[in-house]
């Protein structure tokens, strides 16, 4: 079976579904949202991360690299992407973890062992596992296998999706899942394409299809001032959710924060925060009221 790359496993997650959870982050995403706070999640391949603040300029990576791809400059280590084969020898020798390779394959069994360690915390809190990313639905065969294993072990399963996948995949995964965390961003297809790189038609149609099944759904909306907090967008979204088959589903507003920018630098990218701003408490209140007026239960922050 194809083993997808996992770029992070976080414990004591308290914002990704009920109870105390473990969240598994898969690499690979069909969207490229402008505000993405996990930029290493977008590419499905192994990536080299470099944290300049940790580097002690010991030159060990420069010496060890078989391709001579690393170079120590005034700004720290620079890697020549044309020479680098992502072999990871630099990360192995790096004493400070300034260089890390993001993404490692897990077998279903390995991943299950990690998840099972958390059972005492699930038991006391009603928690479980959340598969996130990236887009976990890009790996349906693997995802269904691990969901089934978790189900057999009595572990509550949540899948955090952007919904931009084939409908049959989504509905099949739904048969093995207890809770969907379904992300919505913008209602206008053009604006959606502008900010995320893809249109939203499939995402919206998939949510309607998912709402026709019995699976529990929680909608998650990242709220970014100046991008999607306008009256028109929020009203359209509220109308859409209110009209879902089976009635409106509860919604969490995830207020945008500029804290994620540091991760872009690790990938050697510049983060352009232009046009993105944190919503004020007033904005959050105003938006919540629009949803609440249509009978949608709103919570702030997961």
């Amino acid at each position: 079976m194809h083993q997808p790359l996992v770029f992070d496993i976080k414990r004591y997650c308290i914002n990704d579904g009920p109870g105390i959870r473990i969240t598994i982050f898969f690499k690979g995403c069909p969207l490229s949202c402008h505000w993405c706070h996990n930029p290493e999640s977008i590419s499905p391949k192994v990536e080299k991360l470099y944290t300049v603040g940790r580097c002690i300029h010991c030159n060990a990576c420069v010496y060890v690299c078989p391709e001579k791809a690393c170079d120590l400059t005034n700004g720290g280590i620079v890697t020549d992407p044309d020479l680098c084969t992502l072999c990871g020898k630099c990360a192995d020798i790096c004493p400070t973890r300034a260089i890390e390779m993001s993404g490692r394959p897990y077998s279903v069994h390995e991943l299950l062992l990690e998840i099972e360690k958390e059972v005492p915390f699930f038991d006391s809190s009603g928690g479980g596992v959340t598969f996130s990313g990236g887009e976990p639905l890009l790996h349906p065969e693997f995802l269904i296998a691990i969901l089934d294993e978790c189900g057999e072990h009595g572990i509550h399963r949540a899948v955090d999706t952007y919904g931009c996948v084939a409908r049959e995949v989504l509905l099949e995964v739904a048969r093995h899942t207890d809770l969907f965390l379904y992300d919505l961003k913008l209602m206008d297809p053009e604006r959606h394409r502008q900010w995320t790189g893809v249109s939203n038609e499939k995402i919206l149609a998939n949510l309607v299809a998912l709402a026709e099944t019995a699976v529990e759904i929680q909608i998650r909306v990242p709220l970014i001032a100046g991008v999607n907090d306008d009256e028109a967008n929020i009203t359209a979204m509220a109308d859409f959710i209110a009209a879902l088959p089976g009635g409106p589903r509860p919604l969490s507003l995830l207020p945008y924060h500029g804290i994620a920018a540091g991760k872009h630098a690790k990938l050697g990218r510049i983060y352009d925060e232009q046009g993105l701003a944190e919503p004020s408490p007033q904005d959050i209140g105003r938006v919540s009221a629009i949803f609440a007026a249509r009978g949608i239960r709103v919570s702030i922050g997961g």
Partner: protein
């Protein structure tokens, strides 16, 4: 109160260091449920601790006059009676609960019979930056004239240090262990419920019966028992007299009081003080005052460390509360006011000042009275009552250092109580700490306590457990386990001083395997523990013979029955503890050498030891490699956790079962209090990458910043230790306030606690980090690798963020601070 000298030369008092967690606002009295409590609290926190020489003067005069006329126990009790008869009383304007150990709040007496402070000691205490105790030049001069000459050469401390063998002295000075009893009496005492059913007159009756039944024909100890019982009887009279004097004072004040309401209060105080402690209390007010007189009696008779502890105070008060609420003679508000008054009373009593090494390791005003709230009752039911909730409210409101407090969460404890406690924790003062009765009952039963006595037990001081009201569990001192390892790596020499501190266990560079290294460490460990135990046993006998505690013996089960003192095996159970510190540091150091020298051979032993000797100067590559690429304790990593488990088992093997002088034995607990800071200061760099002089890990917590896999991984690592074999473990976890924003986050914190306790955890405490901590983390990121930032859909470690973003987190934290 005496006027302090040179007050202008002294540094500013540090409010938070003295436990005033409340930021003063101009024109306001500060926290408290009503103006009375606000004024009492303000007086307590505003008053700087000072010293009173009154007790020492009374005692010196009494000893000069009477030493040699009586047996030692009787001499001690007559000395106590004499002081209770003469001491200056204090009855403050707003007080409902009365009585001070010194002549006024925050005034601390000295105990020259144990440790006689020198003029130089007083000068230091008077002017040092932290934990200052002021004293006037006049008082110092009087002390030099009246007190010091008499006690010179006669104090318990001098007699101990005159006796100790050279190897003990060497190890003690190297900082391999501390000795609690060298200048303070063994304390760590908590009470059960007997004083709420039994007055001092009832105790006197029981004592008289025991005296009448003494068998001088067949019992060779009958004479000693008579002297001890007589001393107990006199000490009961002393506390009754002390209370009567307060009753008289209250009546005098009532007679001249113009405010009718206050006059009525004073009359009530007089009535209460006439009733208790002579008789058992009948009301909620009397019950609290009863305990307070017993508390004052024990901390005046001697300076036991920790002070004194009411044990399960909410459980003891609950029947009085319920009866009076039902009868309509007490309101919830009145009960809360009385509890607030009691809380402030405890805060009025800073620890007696320490000197020498003990002052270095325990630099705090805290005298470690720890109120146990919740838990289970002696017959195994849930112990939470309305009084428990009132106490949490008082803690939340008052923001003071003392008394310490803990909540006890068994499987039977309702979530409502746990969540109420977590909300108080959210305030970020580190209180209350959380204990697991389901585990400590097993710990106590493993040590031989009956089920009922174990259930009535709990923690006193920090995390150590005992059978309340029935046990002398003597903490004999901390063991610096990483220092034992350091001395091993230096073949018996302390590299910090170059002096011999242990025994030769071989040159580590000659070791061919990790096992050889480990066996050398074990040999050193056993030598050091044996050295310590020998002297602790000697000191124990010194107290039994020369500084008995007849009043304390009255209130501890079986002392009257046996006719024996608290320090002489009188209590039903008699335990000695050695508190082991630095499990994380020693585990990580062993793991570093195992991984990098013996397994992966990244570095040679010579190179690592050389780097450690140089405090890693020029060896940043080596140090960083060790810090970042070694399995460390607290990450649910089997390799590291196996080392920790083995060290823990071997500490148990070294300590457990060593005989004490009371026919019972030593046990281990894993406590550090503030000693991990002192132990770090006397320790060179360690192979886990820790720099010389920095703190070692506290209790059973991971080394600072070594745990990078989140709280569940820490908990799983800790749960691999069989904690029921100890007399207490300690886990500190740091949390950012953003993890505790919403009600559901608070519930999840409680669920995390439940998980740990299901897995066998003894204790957990949360430090909710403030902006100052985050700024410290920016300066030394390595020590703060565990700081998790969790926000919706995003999580990271604080360390991994760049400077701007860290700044943003600091600002957010500031906004979230109360």
């Amino acid at each position: 109160m005496a006027t302090p000298i040179n007050s202008t030369d002294k540094p500013q008092r540090q409010a938070a260091a003295e436990g005033n967690f409340y930021t003063e606002k101009p024109g306001q009295l500060g926290p408290g449920m009503n103006p009375r409590i606000q004024r009492l609290r303000k007086l307590s926190v505003d008053t700087e601790p000072s010293l009173s020489i009154e007790r020492a003067l009374h005692e010196t005069a009494f000893y000069r006059e009477n030493y040699g006329k009586y047996s030692i126990p009787v001499l001690r009790s007559l000395n106590f009676l004499d002081h209770c008869e003469k001491k200056t009383l204090y009855l403050g304007d707003d007080e409902l609960i009365v009585g001070e150990r010194g002549p006024a709040p925050k005034v601390v007496p000295t105990f020259p019979e144990l440790t006689c402070h020198s003029v130089e000691d007083f000068e230091v205490l008077n002017t040092r930056d932290q934990q200052r105790y002021t004293i006037s030049e006049d008082d110092i001069a009087t002390y030099a004239r009246e007190v010091i000459p008499y006690w010179q050469g006669r104090t318990v401390r001098e007699r101990i240090f005159g006796h100790v063998p050279q190897e003990w002295q060497a190890a003690y000075e190297a900082g391999l262990f501390t000795e609690f009893m060298e200048q303070r009496a063994p304390g760590h005492t908590a009470l059960d419920g007997k004083i709420y059913r039994t007055g001092m007159l009832d105790f006197k009756q029981r004592i008289a019966e025991k005296i009448a039944a003494l068998d001088y024909l067949n019992d060779p100890e009958a004479t000693d028992k008579f002297e001890e019982l007589k001393a107990m009887d006199i000490s009961c009279d002393a506390v009754i007299l002390f209370a009567e004097r307060h009753a008289e004072l209250a009546e005098e004040k009532a007679a001249t009081e113009n405010d009718p309401q206050r006059a009525a209060e004073l009359s009530t105080i007089a009535e209460v003080c006439r009733r208790v402690p002579a008789h058992a209390p009948r009301t909620f007010h009397e019950a609290i005052q009863m305990y307070w007189f017993v508390h004052l009696g024990t901390i005046t008779e001697l300076n036991g460390w920790d002070a004194m502890n009411p044990g399960h105070f909410d459980q003891h008060l609950a029947p009085f509360y319920a009866a009076e609420i039902k009868a309509g003679t007490l309101t919830r508000e009145q009960a809360k006011e009385l509890i607030s008054c009691f809380w402030i009373k405890v805060n009025n009593h800073p620890a007696p000042p320490k000197v020498g090494i003990t002052a270095r390791e325990s630099g705090t005003y805290n005298d470690f009275t720890n109120i146990n709230i919740g838990g289970i009752t002696a017959d195994g039911r849930d112990g939470v009552s309305e009084v428990s909730y009132i106490m949490l409210e008082v803690i939340e409101e008052l923001h003071i250092l003392q008394p310490g407090n803990s909540v006890h969460i068994s499987a039977k404890t309702p979530d409502r109580f746990l969540n109420a406690a977590c909300r108080v924790i959210r305030q970020g003062h580190g209180y209350p700490s959380i204990f697991n009765p389901d585990v400590y009952v097993l710990e106590l039963m493993r040590q031989g306590k009956s089920l009922r006595d174990a259930r009535e037990g709990g923690c006193s001081g920090c995390i150590e457990v005992g059978a309340f009201g029935k046990e002398a569990y003597i903490l004999t001192g901390y063991l610096n386990v990483p220092k034992v390892f350091e001395v091993t790596l230096n073949n018996g020499i302390d590299p910090v001083t170059g002096k011999i501190a242990g025994i030769a266990t071989g040159d580590p560079c000659s070791f061919n395997s990790y096992e050889e290294l480990y066996q050398a460490f074990l040999k050193q460990l056993n030598f050091i523990v044996d050295t310590k135990v020998r002297v602790s046993n000697y000191i124990d006998r010194m107290f039994a013979k020369y500084a008995p505690a007849p009043f304390l013996s009255v209130v501890i089960e079986d002392c009257i029955e046996k006719g024996k003192d608290y320090y002489d095996g009188g209590p039903r159970y008699n335990t000695n503890y050695i508190q082991c510190t630095g499990l994380g540091t020693v585990t990580d150091s062993l793991s570093a050498l195992k991984t990098h020298v013996f397994e992966q051979q990244t570095f040679t032993m010579e190179r690592v030891l050389d780097a450690v000797a140089k405090d890693f100067a020029g060896e940043e590559f080596l140090r960083q490699t060790i810090v970042n690429k070694t399995p460390f304790f607290g990450n649910d990593d089997e390799a590291a956790d196996a080392i920790a488990g083995r060290v823990y088992q071997d500490l148990l093997a070294a300590i457990e079962g060593q005989p004490n002088v009371k026919g019972e034995c030593f046990h281990l607990n894993m406590l550090s209090t503030t000693c991990h800071i002192y132990f770090g200061k006397v320790l060179g760099a360690t192979p886990n990458g820790r720099f010389a002089g920095k703190s070692i890990s506290d209790g059973t917590s991971p080394s600072h910043g070594a745990d990078t896999n989140g709280p569940p991984a820490v908990i799983r690592s800790l749960s691999k230790l069989d904690q029921t074999m100890s007399g207490g473990t300690l886990l500190n976890l740091r949390f950012l306030p953003s993890l505790l924003k919403r009600d559901e986050d608070i519930a999840k914190l409680g669920q995390l606690v439940r998980s740990y306790f299901t897995l066998g955890g003894h204790h957990i405490q949360f430090n909710i980090v403030d902006t100052a901590t985050l700024r410290a983390a920016q300066c030394s990121p390595e020590d703060y690798k565990d700081l998790l930032v969790r926000m919706a859909g995003y999580s990271d470690y604080f360390n991994d963020m760049n400077n701007d973003l860290q700044q943003e987190i600091i600002e957010r934290t500031q906004n979230e601070e109360l």
